[in-house]
């Protein structure tokens, strides 16, 4: 089938920052994203798990964006602005997409 090149950006970030991040992404022209739950993890700031949390301050989510290559830089700059001071991981992968007219 006919596919097209695109980028898949995954931003792992604290739940409380989710809305700020997606608002920023939208201002940077990102038109689509999906949010995945994260159950727990470990990093420089130690290990955590959703079951060990009482506060909405502490869970994390993954924000996944499929985006055209030419828009990648705008997205990364917007994301970086929000993620910069916060814990979080940003990865970029090459993907092929069906129905590219959607992106």
């Amino acid at each position: 089938m006919q596919t097209h090149k695109a980028k898949r950006v995954v931003i792992t970030i604290e739940s409380i920052m989710q809305k700020r991040l997606t608002d920023t992404l939208e201002s940077a022209g990102v038109t689509g994203y999906s949010i995945l739950p994260v159950l727990g993890g470990s990093g420089r700031s130690g290990a955590w798990s959703r079951d060990g949390q009482i506060s909405r301050a502490s869970g994390m989510v993954q924000v996944v964006c499929i985006i055209r290559k030419e828009r990648l830089d705008a997205l990364l700059e917007a994301a970086f602005e929000v993620v910069d001071k916060h814990i979080g991981v940003v990865t970029i992968t090459d993907v092929d997409v069906l129905r590219a007219e959607r992106f």
Binding site: E14, I16, M17, R20, S45, G46, A47, W48, S49, R50, D51, G52, Q53, I54, S55, R56, A57, S58, K85, H86, I87
Partner: protein
């Protein structure tokens, strides 16, 4: 003195406290016992709704007495001022950075609604009545402390880190909205409304509180285990001294304002308790550099258990002794 000890003991040997202890021990012993997040959140919605509603019904029944406004203002002031005292104590007792100390201080000006709920249930058990609007005072005390903490960080530049969006999030956070909303529903529907739903919000209340505190114990225990070594002895001392100091300030304020003995106790509890939901969330947004395990461990791992087990009976005894109530 033996009176206080007896009281503390009686408080300790209650299903509510022992459930918390069970959770704590299970977590420290690395049991895989967990209460699902959704169930815990469901229970907290139940507790907030019930406590708010009952407060509103009490106000509808007794009318508003003149101390309402005064107590509200007193709550605002306490919440705004306590962080400065906490900050000063932290600088003396610990070597926390300015930012970490300010973040912690913000938690101690604000309140823990679960500690408040546990205290009302102790008061009820001992037949001590209190002003129904104290739940509204609790709501009022959640936010000002956050502003004080941010002010402490910016040493006077006030609010640089506070934007409108964060302000709105703090003021309209779910717990406050639910507590205050249920309060108004209770006030509007009164005894009749209570009759319609009392077998839901009154009868099973203590039982739900047990399971909720079981989960709090699990969370506090896991937090303590994960953050072993985060707190030194000075920090732990702060976590126990600060609630006592806070309660005494609350006591004085309550007496000045002219609350009933039960009301005085609740104001002491509010002053003594530290937030572990609303304030940590605000701090993660506004002060991401502050270390969350410091403030969460102190508030949830040290002060909350202290208040629940020793603090509450102590505050009850103190206020009874002073007011002669």
């Amino acid at each position: 003195m033996t009176g206080i000890l007896d009281l503390a003991l009686a408080n300790l040997v209650s299903p509510v406290i022992l459930s918390f202890v069970l959770g704590l021990l299970a977590a420290l012993g690395r049991s895989d016992l967990t209460v699902p997040e959704a169930a815990a959140k469901g229970m907290s919605i139940y507790l907030l709704f019930a406590i708010g509603f009952k407060g509103g019904v009490a106000v509808a029944a007794n009318g508003l007495d003149g101390t309402l406004i005064a107590t509200m203002i007193a709550g605002l002031v306490l919440s705004a001022v306590l962080p400065f005292i906490a900050f000063a104590m932290l600088r003396v007792l610990t070597s926390l950075s300015r930012i970490d100390a300010a973040a912690v201080a913000g938690h101690y000006g604000s309140i823990s609604i679960v500690t408040f709920v546990a205290a009302t249930s102790v008061l009820e058990g001992r037949g001590i009545s209190s002003e129904g609007y104290m739940v509204a005072v609790a709501a009022v005390m959640e936010a000002p402390a956050i502003l004080s903490a941010l002010w402490l960080v910016s040493t006077g530049g006030s609010g640089r880190r506070m934007d409108k969006e964060l302000m709105r999030e703090i003021m309209l956070n779910g717990s406050i909205v639910l507590l205050v909303g249920a309060f108004f529903i209770g006030a509007a529907t009164g005894e009749e409304g209570l009759a319609a739903i009392s077998s839901f919000i009154v009868a099973p209340f203590t039982g739900v509180l047990c399971l909720f505190l079981l989960d709090m114990g699990l969370v506090a225990g896991r937090g303590l285990r994960e953050s072993r070594g985060t707190l030194n002895i000075g920090a732990v001392a702060f976590g126990i001294l600060m609630p006592i100091v806070g309660s005494l300030i609350g006591l004085a304020t309550g007496l000045i304002v002219g609350l009933s003995p039960g009301g005085v106790t609740l104001l002491m509890v509010l002053s003594a308790s530290a937030s572990y939901i609303a304030v940590p969330a605000a701090m993660r947004v506004a002060l991401p550099e502050a270390n969350p395990s410091v403030y969460l461990t102190l508030s949830l791992g040290v002060t909350f258990p202290f208040n629940l087990t020793i603090g509450i009976p102590l505050y009850v005894a103190l206020s009874q002794a002073v007011t002669g109530g």
